[in-house]
Every structure is written in structure tokens, then in C-alpha cells.
Symmetry: C2
Subunit: 885 residues, 2 copies
């Protein structure tokens, strides 16, 4: 006979915490607690299989009913009460509990078993008629809504009327008589609506509630949640039925929630709150203010420790048992009934990043868990909270717009609408927030001068987002609800108009644009954090490099423990000050000779850039990408800038305008950039190559650490493109080495960022020492989505559930990942020792990093502020892959 | 012992035409002719293997030399002359001949064996001292340049000086004495340059010439040619050494070239020209005008037929033998020496498309070849010549600019610079050529009003190109040398300024912009053409559909034999007249309701469009693609048009401008279009679906032929996108069928035009009845190349030899093709009967069609004017695949 029901009671249980798939998280943990002898009210769990069967048959199967009836008898015996009894009636809770936590998504019914007769028995038994009828009222209301499908407002209206009649401000001021009246009114309203009366038979109540909880697995809210969290529909929910215990049986009773450690700080001290003479619902409802569990100075005599010392010491001991047994900090619901402490639920407690780290490390140090386990306990993404300033949690927020959380952290400042204004304001000592429809390389100096960036267009990998993350500044992109008017320096949002100089706060973690200036808190990188990183480094196989374009970023990344530079984008080096004009001189040149003469001026600047980077990285690998964006990006855009630039260059403005028009592209992302530019204008790549080799030799002499530069060729799709560039690079390398009379090693490789490159990786690998997976562009081309234009429809896709994850944040493993796997296999086939790394934004995303571990990449590379996240995620991936094998 | 040398002479030969890999085309055919008893001067061929060996060893191996020496002896015997003899010296030609024809890429040395002594013998033997020294002069010059590596100009200068001295206008007016002087001067110049004298030993001359011809396989010109034509370097060249015969031994001697049939018309009559008392070189040099082979009225008595009736009748017979033997029209070089006719070379003759068809059909009818062979004899691409008007070949051309040959045919007209002007000029009865930097859907009416289109931007699959091909109008795109100034209605090109109304001619086949109006010739689709198509249809497996958006195109395609519509782009239906404004009304709508009200106006128009198409196609399949381009494309672009449109719509122009700004995208190709649009604004797809089903039922009733519409969902990358659309389509289909009380079959499928769709094709096939390979966009995304911006670097790539073929014209089989193969395999895995077709521009390209046959696609679809090409190419692919198996 198939087992559909698993009982637990009095130090025994048919299931255990291993049965989470069958019994759900709640049911499995209740069974486990009972099994190891912890005080749990008797009960049983109906399996997820039964749920699936019932949903398929649209009724609870007879065999399930039989087993439920038997389990109820067992509960009656173990609780010494009887279901529907007129002396000491057994009341039960009916609660959902799925394999994965789905907070608040499904339904629950409490106090089941009450009817017109048992309510009287309860009143007698507790000696509190008001309580008995209030419980009955709540039960009727909950049951009618959850099981019978009636509307909330029906009952709220009756309750409001009664309160008005009695002049009661709150529910718990209602008299027993009033509550009896309400119960009558509720029952009448149900007959009115349904043409049937509220069920008086406790068993009928039970079947109704069980079926309703089963069905709530399929409600739209739950279905959407599942789609978003990749929870398969076929898992189904379990239902746990458990004897009610009453924390409101007088001053020797109580209800409360305990964390075995402090969930904010991680301190190893019982933390939580309780209410004496109360039921769990009262804590939630907020009519009474709960008291602390442990004694505190502010509220002398209020704590459970002082008021119920016996129960408190039992709780302390049980908390310790739970932690030892489950090996993690627990979030426990408990009730004290007439001095006896019952545990109603336990689960791993949610905690802040700070707490997570401290708890994990202390538990490992105490030998409760291994260091590997400790590392797995910290959500890598959550470290972001520790690396950036955050808004004081106590501050009041007025949200005026929402956008994409493009770069974490928070900052307040005066708003400006152009980069020029940002630079001027910064010079005047003002913290400013730069607001633009979108940003371009022209805005780098403005972004650098600002404390935060806000754009109305673009996704999480738009120019603004990428640059802001590199700078470690909060940024919100794609805030479509904003109407930005740069000409008039005004912003319309949330029904208000803001002008230059007005104060805003940007919450880059939440993607919220907030009114005014808010107080900030700066988390410290505590000693625990350093320990965590140390343990991570001991476990991880993959190197963690950084994407850094400037000495500033390189220094930050080194402080965060980067193992080298995975991607140095050289184009940012051409947009600062004087260089911008020299670059433009090169672009408007008509002949290769004119271009070379401008490039000769850029050469010493580039060489100095590289020397500085090489010196900072002290012999660690540095991968430098040849200039990638289309030339158009380097030309001024506005009329004003065009005129000024032409004047500085001493040329006719028409010539500059004409050249810009020639270079303008319809789809610049797919235009003349990357290796294409290098083939059309080989002089540029030649200058860069020369600068790299001269710098490598000079820096090597300076620091004594030999530099092995890695030259990265972007946007390759044909092997002939790489061969073309490689032969230029090899020639120049030989020239420089001869001139400098020193030989150095170097690598030349290809970015794999176009599908064709992945498909032809076996051939490309013959000319490439390494592959650098450029997953930003590979995502754009594989999915045919421009990240700059994606926000208009990707948000709709997420809302309509067409996709569950933004492919620019979490690597699209099924599509883009498949191409990466192909390229990895083919590349290794041709060149078994090929160096493989990822340099797209995904290099800082934990789930994407896990996939990189699976592919066996040699390194991930991410923005400086994500390096610690990547170090932990790489360690977690390495540990997980051990388990998989 | 390895055989390095193959002799041929006097009705015998060691090789045959089967040995083309070893002996090259020329050597193999000479052997074959000798083998079957045709009169060929004795000679031998050194193999390609010997070439490879010699190039590797940097010298002619001793074993090769031995065999060459033996072969020379054999030649002496068979020619009854002696190499280096002082009475009757044997002179030889040393000619290259590779496996594939590489015209003019490698070197040749003629008249080898002459020296200071043998020249005298030759003078005595021919009784013509002038001729002997002229031959010697030519030999020294050719040898010094080819073998000794001296410069042309060295010899030209000496020759010029001698001509001046003698007052001779042409070389053949130089006296024997002058030629003797030139020979002396040549020899002195060689000593001057090389510090060594011109070799007098005929054997030394021979080894020098052979090695030089071997080496010419590796010259840069040949290497580039090989790269472009995919000829492997390891093939090498053969060298043929053959006894010289002299067509200049008096009036009973001659030299000439004969085609066994007329290469222009295909007429089965000997065609060609000859020169009496001359050598082959004289025909090429053009000093004398050759006479016709066969008698013609214009030149009575001049023909070979009249002047050398015996040799002529031998030639006639030999021509017939050659055709019978080789089974194709031959291009033959011959020499008559003292009345005896010698054949020096034969090969398949080049011919016009008209001739190719006529010859193939007549040969098949005569039983010389099979019908399958006949089909293989016609170059499918060449049919283009027959389907469009062409410039009279006799007309003089002044090229003022070059661009990409985007749509074939030619036309002359007055130039205009806007679509509005084009429409006005057409109304005034003027033929006009529309000139734009690039075109957009706004230009459709202007393109329709023009006889040809010229753009300075865009590639061969840009908007202008695609639309022009669909319309069958000549078009040149990407003519970067033009400077177009639409405001002033002026065009600067080739150093001249043209203004509105000036006459130009567009040659869409050659991509040439020509000055003035040129005379045209209109080829007729002769009876042979129809026969060719009939035979093609009997052989081909794949269906040939057409890409047609309008009834006009559909009618043309039907006349050209299309098997249905593979792609009907519905967006073109929204850009004409009133509809454009209704479309804009829809786009600026703020709510789904407002959008629906505008769409309700479009519904009957769309329905009528589809009814017309269905009726024209008479039950053949019609695949309709839901609207694909971004909404921005439908909005007016110029200030003027914006104001006018806002006025007509009765809205504030600012609202239109604001909406346009919201919809503007950085990379529209990768933006909110295709299925994304349909998910963001489902109303549009719903209207289109309703129009399709209503039209299908109505047209089916009208014609009696049931319509099975195929609904094509563009730009799918996630299966969830297709599922989303499919459920909408199925619902509406059910609604319409219920309303119309009739059930019809229909198919819903996906365009595979994004790499992710190919990778996930197994999952997509579960919801798709068919895949339509959109290889234009698949090429754009797989290679990361915007076709609108590609001309700037793809031309450079082609010039620098980085790529050999334009991937937008010839399918990139290694990259894009690999994804198609993946999608085909995965699609069939999930749905074995899935319908597969290609609808990109490649569907009309013969090499791409061959690949589609290889994949086993069900159909190709191309622009109407390419349907005949595709029918033939499909037949050829089917025949070739039989051979492969």
C-alpha cells in the first residue's frame, strides 16, 4: 500500500528532514524535530504525491482519506484531545509546505475543528468566551475566503460595523457578546452568498481545507512565482495538519519567534521576540508590541528571560540542539502553553550578508560545519551589500521612479543634466548625480565627476551601467518613467518636476530613484570578510581577474584580490582631455601617413598608460584589448562640441561634420569596429601594439617582474582576421624586442563574442593562444538583442513571464552557454593548453561563474567591485563540482 | 620508377583527359587529342607532382631532368627536328597548365631553343631573316622577363628607340637589320643588369624556363587568385613543352582560333577567325585584322573557307570530332603550317547565357549528351542576363562611379533626389532614377515610380537592394564615391556635378554608374529557355517559392514558375498612402484600446491584400510573416513630413516627435521588432492573424482552391516567444472559423534568423510546423555584421583577401551554414515531418541553393526575377547529389 501520510508526535516520526521532496520543507523539519525528541505538537503531513494525485483527479482519493483518518486518530491519542469533542476539542492547523520555500504564495487554515458546539467547549476549557468566539470568528473568515472562495470585503464590512457599534478602535477591544454577534452575521452572510451554510462537521471542514490548500499550488500568484524561480509545476505541495496549541492560555503561556543567532550581526546570542498570553497571529497583526526574548537594559523586566525563566532556558537549550542538529542558524516559531514550550516550525534563518559571514565562520571555527560548508552558506551576490555604501534602513523613502539596478551602492546629490555641468559642479565641491537619456564615451569625465548616474534608456550592460560598475558608483538605467529634458535642465518623474540642483538619492541596489537626501551607512570590511576570502582562495580552481581600464580601477581590484587584468579596454584611454583631439585628428586624416602622424602623438601616452598598469599589477597577467568601438564614437556629437573641436584642430567644421556623417552607422554594434577597424586602418593597432611591447619591457625592467602581455583581438569571426592581425603584431613585437634588445613572452588571442567565432573555434584556436569569452556581445548577437535597446521589451518579457531571467545579468546557459561549450571543446581540440576566460559582465555573476567552472575555464574577469563576489562564487563552484563528481 | 613526364605525339599519348590533376587542363587535353588521333605537334607534359617536388627542393630533381631529356629525344624523333640543331632546329613552347583554369596568372615562354646560331638556321629554313630575328628578339625579351626577372621597361625602351630610328610606327615595320641591332642591344642590356649573358645553351634555356614556370605558381597574383577561387596551394601547376609549328611560313600557312559553335548565339556553325602567314601572337597583338573562318557576304573572298578550302574542311571535321569526343562546344587554337593543320589547344568554349542554353539543348536533342548533362552545362547565375534589359554591348561607356551590383538589369533616366520628386516626375511621364544616401520604407512609392535606384550606402541586401530586386529594377548600392546632397538636389561624382534632371544610366549587373543615356537591348525568353525550365522542373526535388509582398510581384513570380510564396513581408502593406497615417495613429496610441481602434481600420485593407495574393497563387502555399520592423520605421523622418503627418492625424506635432524619440533605437536591427513587437503589442499580430484567416476562407470560397495559410513568426529566440504567439494565433483562428462556419488547415512556424533559435531548434520545433531560414538576419547576427553598414569594411576585406566571398551574396556555409545544419538536425529530431525552407536572399544564389539541397530543405524562396535561376540551380543540385551518392 502506497504511503500518502506521514505522522510525527512524541519523539517519533515516520519521515525526516531528508524527505523534503515528499513532505515539503515545513513537514520534513517538523518530522525531524519530533524524531530527535524535540517538543512538537502531534501532527502529520500529506505528501506532495497526494497533492498531485488529488489535483489530477479533482478530488482527494479515497485511499488518502483513509490514511488521513487514521492519522487523525493517532493525533487524538497523542494529544489526549478529540476532534469535534464537546469537552476538550482537538483543533488543528492546515498548512501548505512545498519543497522550495514559496513565502505567502499558498493558503493556510488555522483553528480548524471549531463549530457552534465545540466553540462552547473551547470557551469552557479555556475559561475565556471572548477568546473562543474570536478564534471561531477568525476561523470562519479564513475558511470562507480560502475554501469557499468568498471575498475579503464581505467580512471586513461586518467587522467594521461591529467595531463602530461598540466604539471599539481595535478588534481585541470587542466584547464576547459582540464577537458572538459577528459569528452570527458571518454565518448569515455565507448563506446569503453561497446558498449553503458554513460547514459544522469538523471532518467536512478538514477535507475542504486540505483540497483548498492543494489547489492553491495552482493559483496564478504561485504559478508566476514558480515560473520566476524555475520551480517545476510537477513538484506539488505537501499539507501539514497539526494539533493547535494555545499561547493565550493565561500569563504562563506565550507565543514567539526566535533566531538562534542575531540575523543582523551574526552575534551568537538568542535573538527574537514574544508575546505573553497571545497567539502567533497577534504578533503578525501588530496590535500589541512584542517583548524581547533576552533581557535588555532598555526594557527591564520585560523579557522572556526575566518573565518565564524556565521556558526561556528550555528554549536556549533547544536552540542549541537545533543548530547542532541542522548545522545552521535557525528561525524557530514556538508557543508556550501553560508553561510547556512547543516548537511549531524551524528553518534556516534569513540573515544579512554581515551575519551570514560571521555565522558561517564561527560555526566552522566551532567545528559544527566544515570550511567548505561555511563557504556554501554565504550568498555570493549578497557581498555587494558590504562593498558599497547603503541607505540607512531606518530612513523614510519617497520613490519617484524605478529603473534597473545597474550598479550597486547608494548616493545622494544635486542633479545635473550634462557632463560639462557635472564637471563644473564637482569643481565647485558639490556632489552631483548625472542624469542623461543615455551615456556615451563623451560622458566619461562627467560620470567620473558624479557620485551616481541615472539614465532613462539602456539595460544593465549599457554604457552607463558598465562604466559605473567599473567606477564603483551607483547607477540606475532604463528608468523609462522619467521624462528628461536636457535642454531645459528639467526632469519630470512621479508627477513632479525637478530642476538642476535639486536633491535626489539613487539606490543602485534596488533600482529606486528617491526624493531628497537620505542618510547613508558604510559597512566595514570586517576581519570575518578577510577570512572568508582566504578560505575561498584555498578552495577555488579558477583565477579571478578584473576588467580595469585605468590605474584607479586596477588599484581597487588589487585591493579586492584580483589575480590580474582580464580585460583592459583601451578606448577609454582616448577620450580624456587632449587625447580626444589627437584621436579626432587621426580619424579625419585622409591618408595612412596623416593617420600615422597623429598616432605618433598618441604612442607615448598609451605607453605610459600601460607602464602604469603593468607596474600596479606587478607581474600578474594583463590582457589588453585593441581598440574596439566604431570611430564615430570618438567624434563630438553636439553642434557646440563639433565647433569647439574643429576650432582646436584648426580645421573647417564642415569637414568634421562630413566625416562624422560618413562614419555614422545604422547599427553601430554590428558595424566597423574591433578587428574590422584594425584591418581597415592597421596603423591604429600597430601603434597600440608598439605601446604595449615598449611598456612591457620598460615596466619589467622597472619592477623586476617580467611582464607577459596578452593582446586581445576583438570581434573576430573569420580566422583570416586573426591571422591578419597576428602577423602585424608578431612583426612589431620582433621590431620592439630588437630595438630594446630584450626578448619577452607574449600571448595573442581572440575575443569569442560572435556566434561564428564559436562555431569556427577549432580553426581560430590554431592562431590564438587564448580565448576571452566576451559574453556581453555574444549575448547580443546570439539572441539578436541590443543591450542598449533591450529595456523596452525585456521588461515586458519578464512581466509576462516569457523569460525568467535577464540574459544580460544571468548568462543564457541554454543558448549562449551552448556556444561557449562548443567553442571550449573545439578550441581545446585544436590547442589542448589554450587559456580560456570570460570577460563579459557575467564574469561577476555567481550562477554564470558556476557555469564557467563547469566548462573548466581558467579564469573569470569582472569589474573591480565584484572581485570578492567572484572569488567566493568560484570557490563555491569548485566545491559544488566536487560534490557532483 | 615514378613517372614525372608524359609524352604525346602522332596519334599516341601516355596521358589522357582523365589526368587533369596530374597534367593540368592544357596538358591533359593535348594528350587526349593526340590519343584519339587528332593532329597535335609532338610534346610532353611535366606533372604537377614534379612542380611540387621542384618547389620544395628549390631545383628540378635529377630524376625529372632525366625523364625530360628522354622526352625531348622523343619529340625530336617525332618532329624530325633537333633541339639546337644548326639546320632545322626544334623550337619549343614552355607553357603552364593547372588543374583549374587560372587565365593569365602564370608564365609562358615561346620559341625556346633559339640562340645566335639557331636563329641563323631558322632564317635559312624559313627564308625570312626578318621573321627569324623578330622571333629571337621576342624570345630573349620573354625569357629575360620571365626567367631572369628583368623589368619590362628595359626592353620597351630599346624597342621604342629602334622604332624612332627607323621611323617605324609598328613593330612589324622594323627591318631585319634593325631587329638584329635590337637583339644585340637586348643582350648587352642583360649583361649590364645581370653581370651574366643571355644563355646560349638550349638546354640551359629549357631548365631555366621550366623552373620559372613552376615558380610562377607561387607568384602573388596567382596566390591571390587561388585564395579567391578556393584553389588549394598543393595542387601545383603542370608544364607542357611542345614543338613549335609556324603559321607564318607563307600564304599556305595560317593561325587562328575556332569555336565549334557560335559563342554568342549558340548557332551550330563553325565560328572564329584566322590570319594567313602569321603566328598566334599576331592575332593577340592586333596589328592585323583577322579574317573570318566561314564565308560571309560582307567580306567576299576573305574567309579561310574560300582561301584555304582544304584546311577549312579538315578543321570542320576536326571540330565535329572534338565536340563528339568532349561532348561540349570547344574553343580551339590551330595553326596551318604549309597546308597542314595542327591543333595546339582545345577547351570548353566560354559562351553567353543564350548560347549556353541553345547549345545544351541542341546537344541533348542530338543525343551527344543527356538532358541531365545539358542542365549542368548552363551557369544558373548567367540566366540573370536574360531576364533583364541590358546595355547594348556596342555602346560607349563613361563610368562616373562604381558601387555594388545590387539588382540586375540596366536603365537610363533623369536623376531625382527624393521619392516625392520621383513620383511627380513619373506622373509627368519622365523615366527617373532615384538617388538617395539610403532608402527606407518611406521610399517605396518613390522606388516604384523610378526605373532604377542608386544609393551611396548599404550593401547588396540593404533595403534598397532587396526592394529593387523584388521590383525587378536595376539598383546600385554602396556607391561610396558619390557625394549626394539631397537638399541642393545635386550629386558630385567622377569630378563632375550633376543636378536634378540630368541623365544617367545604371548598369545593375556591373555596378556601374554611367554618364548619359545609353541604348538598351531586351533579350527575349526564347523557346529554348522554356525547354530548359521544363527539364529543370523534371529533375529538381526542392520547390522554388518566391518572396513577394504585392500582387504585382506575385504575378511576375507566377509567370516565372514560382511554386508559391515563401515570404510575404506584410510591413510593406502599411506604408502606402492612407495606410501610413492609420499605422501612425496606431503607433502614437497610448492604450491598447486606442491601438485596436486604429487597427480596426487596417483590418479590411489587410484582408483585401491577402485575398488578392491567395487568388493569384490559386491554392499554392503562401507564407505570411507577421509585421517585423521596429515601429520607428513607420514614422515620418523629416521635419516637413512630421508636420504634415501630425496635421493629417489632427495631433500636436510634439506628440509625434516625442513618440518617435521614444521609439528611436541605437541598433534597430537588434531592437524591438519581430515577435518582440507582437508580445509588447499583441493587438497588431491579432489584427494580422484575423485578416489572414478571413482572407483565406473568403479566397478559398472564391477560387474553389482551399487555402492553407502559413503564418510566419519572425525573430524568435526563446521557444516561449513562439508559444505566446501561437496561442494567440490558435485562438483567433478558432474564432474566425466559428464566425465563418468553415474549418481550414493552417501552419504556424518560426523564422530561424537568430543563432539562439538554431541552437534551441529542437525545443522550438515542438511548437513550430515549419522553419523558415531567414539567412539575411542569420548572417547579420552570426557574423555580427550589419548589412547596412557592411560596405565600409567588407569591400576592404575582399580587396585584402581576408574573405573570398560576400557572405550576404553567397551563404557563409562554414558559419551560418553550420547553424542551419544544427537547426535542421534538431528540428527534424523533434518533428520528423517539419517543413523547411530558406527565404533569405541566398535562396536565389546557386551555390547557396546547392547547400540547401545538401541539407534536404523542402524549398528555397527568392525574389521573383530569380525564380528561373533557382529552378535551374535546384535541378543542378539534385543532379549533383545523385552523383555524390
Amino acid at each position: 500500500m502506497r504511503k500518502w501520510v506521514y505522522t510525527f508526535a512524541g519523539g517519533m516520526a515516520e519521515g525526516s528532514s531528508a524527505d523534503v521532496a515528499l513532505l515539503g520543507g515545513k513537514g520534513a523539519n517538523l518530522a525531524e524535530m519530533s524524531r530527535i525528541g524535540l517538543p512538537v505538537p502531534p501532527g502529520f503531513t500529506i505528501t506532495t504525491d497526494a497533492c498531485n494525485r488529488a489535483l489530477k483527479e479533482r478530488a482527494i482519493p479515497e485511499r488518502v482519506r483513509e490514511q488521513v483518518n487514521a492519522a487523525m486518530k493517532y493525533c487524538e491519542m497523542m494529544s489526549a484531545k478529540k476532534f469535534g469533542d464537546l469537552e476538550n476539542p482537538l483543533l488543528v492547523s492546515v498548512r501548505s509546505g512545498a519543497r522550495a520555500s514559496m513565502p505567502g504564495m499558498m493558503d493556510t487554515v488555522l483553528n480548524l475543528g471549531l463549530n457552534d458546539a465545540t466553540v462552547e467547549a473551547l470557551a469552557r476549557f479555556t475559561g475565556d468566551e471572548r477568546f473562543a468566539y474570536d478564534t471561531y470568528r477568525r476561523f470562519i473568515q479564513m475558511y470562507a475566503i480560502v475554501v469557499m472562495g468568498l471575498d475579503h470585503s464581505l467580512f471586513e464590512d461586518i467587522l467594521d460595523g461591529a467595531r463602530e457599534n461598540e466604539g471599539a478602535a481595535r478588534d481585541n477591544e470587542l466584547s464576547a457578546a459582540a464577537l458572538i454577534g459577528i459569528v452570527q452575521a458571518y454565518k448569515a452572510a455565507i448563506i446569503d452568498e453561497m446558498d449553503e451554510s458554513f460547514p459544522q462537521d469538523p471532518h467536512e471542514q478538514l477535507w475542504g481545507a486540505v483540497m483548498a490548500v492543494f489547489k492553491s499550488w495552482g493559483n496564478p500568484r504561485a504559478a508566476t512565482y514558480r515560473a520566476l524561480h524555475n520551480i517545476p509545476e510537477e513538484w506539488g505541495t505537501a499539507v501539514t495538519i497539526q494539533a493547535m496549541v494555545f499561547g493565550n492560555s493565561g500569563q504562563n503561556s506565550a507565543t514567539g519567534v526566535a533566531f538562534t543567532r542575531n540575523p543582523s550581526t551574526g552575534e551568537n546570542k538568542l535573538y527574537g521576540e514574544f508575546l505573553a498570553d497571545a497567539q502567533g497571529e497577534d504578533v503578525v497583526a501588530g496590535f500589541r508590541t512584542p517583548d524581547p526574548l533576552s533581557a535588555i537594559e532598555d526594557k527591564p523586566g520585560a523579557s522572556m528571560q526575566e518573565r518565564m525563566p524556565d521556558a526561556y532556558s528550555v528554549l536556549m537549550r533547544l536552540a542549541d540542539d537545533l543548530e547542532q542538529h541542522f548545522g545552521d542558524m535557525q528561525d524557530v516559531e514556538f508557543t508556550v502553553e501553560n508553561g510547556k514550550l512547543w516548537l511549531l516550525q524551524t528553518r534556516a534563518g534569513k540573515r544579512t550578508a554581515t551575519a551570514a559571514i560571521r555565522i558561517a565562520i564561527e560555526m566552522a571555527d566551532a567545528g559544527v560545519i566544515t570550511r567548505k560548508n561555511a563557504l556554501m552558506r554565504v550568498d555570493a551576490s549578497s557581498l555587494d551589500q558590504l562593498l558599497h555604501p547603503a541607505i540607512d534602513p531606518a530612513a523614510e523613502r519617497t520613490i519617484i521612479a524605478r529603473g534597473l539596478p545597474a550598479s550597486p551602492g547608494a548616493a545622494s546629490g544635486q542633479i545635473v543634466f550634462s557632463s560639462t555641468d557635472a564637471v563644473a559642479a564637482k569643481a565647485a565641491g558639490k556632489p552631483v548625480i548625472l542624469i542623461r537619456p543615455e551615456t556615451s564615451p563623451d560622458d566619461i569625465h562627467g560620470m567620473d565627476a558624479s557620485v551616481a548616474i541615472l539614465t532613462s534608456r539602456g539595460g544593465t550592460t549599457s554604457h552607463a551601467a558598465v562604466v559605473a560598475r567599473g567606477m564603483g558608483k551607483p547607477c540606475i538605467t532604463g528608468a523609462g518613467g522619467l521624462r528628461i529634458d536636457p535642454h531645459n535642465k528639467a526632469l519630470v518623474a512621479g508627477g513632479m518636476t525637478l530642476r538642476e540642483g535639486d536633491l535626489l538619492t539613487i539606490d543602485g541596489n534596488a533600482g529606486e530613484v528617491l526624493k531628497g537626501e537620505l542618510p547613508m551607512v558604510q559597512s566595514k570590511l570586517a576581519g570575518d570578510f578577510a577570512t572568508l576570502m582566504e578560505w575561498s582562495d584555498a578552495e577555488r580552481r579558477m583565477k579571478v581577474r578584473t576588467n580595469a581600464d585605468s590605474p584607479k580601477e586596477a588599484i581597487v581590484a588589487r585591493q579586492f584580490g584580483a589575480d590580474g587584468i582580464g580585460l583592459c579596454r583601451t578606448e577609454h584611454m582616448f577620450t580624456e582631455g587632449d587625447r580626444a583631439d589627437v584621436m579626432r585628428e587621426m580619424i579625419i586624416a585622409d591618408t595612412a601617413e596623416e593617420r600615422r602622424s597623429a598616432l605618433d602623438k598618441l604612442l607615448p601616452m598609451q605607453r605610459d598608460d600601460f607602464i602604469e598598469l603593468f607596474e600596479i599589477m606587478q607581474g600578474q597577467p594583463v590582457a589588453i584589448r585593441l581598440v574596439d568601438p566604431p570611430l564615430y564614437d570618438f567624434l563630438p556629437k553636439s553642434e557646440e562640441d563639433l565647433v569647439a573641436s574643429a576650432k582646436r584642430l584648426g580645421i573647417d567644421v564642415d569637414r568634421l561634420v562630413r566625416r562624422a556623417e560618413e562614419l555614422r552607422e545604422i547599427n553601430p554594434m554590428l558595424g566597423n569596429r574591433g578587428v574590422r577597424l584594425a584591418i581597415c586602418y592597421p596603423e591604429i593597432a600597430e601603434m597600440q601594439t608598439r605601446a604595449i611591447f615598449e611598456a612591457a619591457i620598460l615596466a619589467g625592467k622597472e619592477t623586476g617582474e617580467p611582464v607577459v602581455p596578452e593582446i586581445v583581438v576583438p570581434l573576430v569571426s573569420y580566422v583570416a582576421e586573426l591571422q591578419f592581425l597576428r602577423s602585424h603584431i608578431d612583426t612589431i613585437a620582433a621590431d620592439v624586442m630588437r630595438e630594446q634588445e630584450q626578448t619577452i613572452d607574449y600571448l595573442v588571442g581572440s575575443v569569442i563574442e560572435l556566434p561564428r567565432a564559436a562555431i569556427r573555434a577549432d580553426f581560430i584556436a590554431e592562431s590564438a593562444d587564448f580565448f576571452s569569452f566576451g559574453t556581453n556581445d555574444l549575448t547580443q548577437t546570439t539572441l539578436g538583442i541590443s543591450r542598449d535597446d533591450a529595456s523596452t521589451f525585456l521588461n515586458t518579457y519578464l512581466q509576462k513571464g516569457v523569460i525568467g531571467l535577464d540574459p544580460f545579468i544571468n548568462l543564457d546557459i541554454e543558448g549562449v552557454g551552448e556556444l561557449m561549450r562548443l567553442a571550449t571543446d573545439k578550441g581545446r581540440n585544436s590547442r589542448p593548453d589554450i587559456l580560456l576566460g570570460i570577460t563579459g559582465e557575467h564574469g561577476g555573476d555567481p550562477t554564470s561563474i558556476a557555469f564557467c567552472e563547469d566548462l573548466g575555464l581558467d579564469y573569470v574577469s569582472c569589474s573591480p567591485y565584484r572581485v570578492p563576489i567572484a572569488r567566493l562564487a568560484a570557490a563555491q563552484s569548485a566545491i559544488a563540482s566536487l560534490t557532483d563528481d
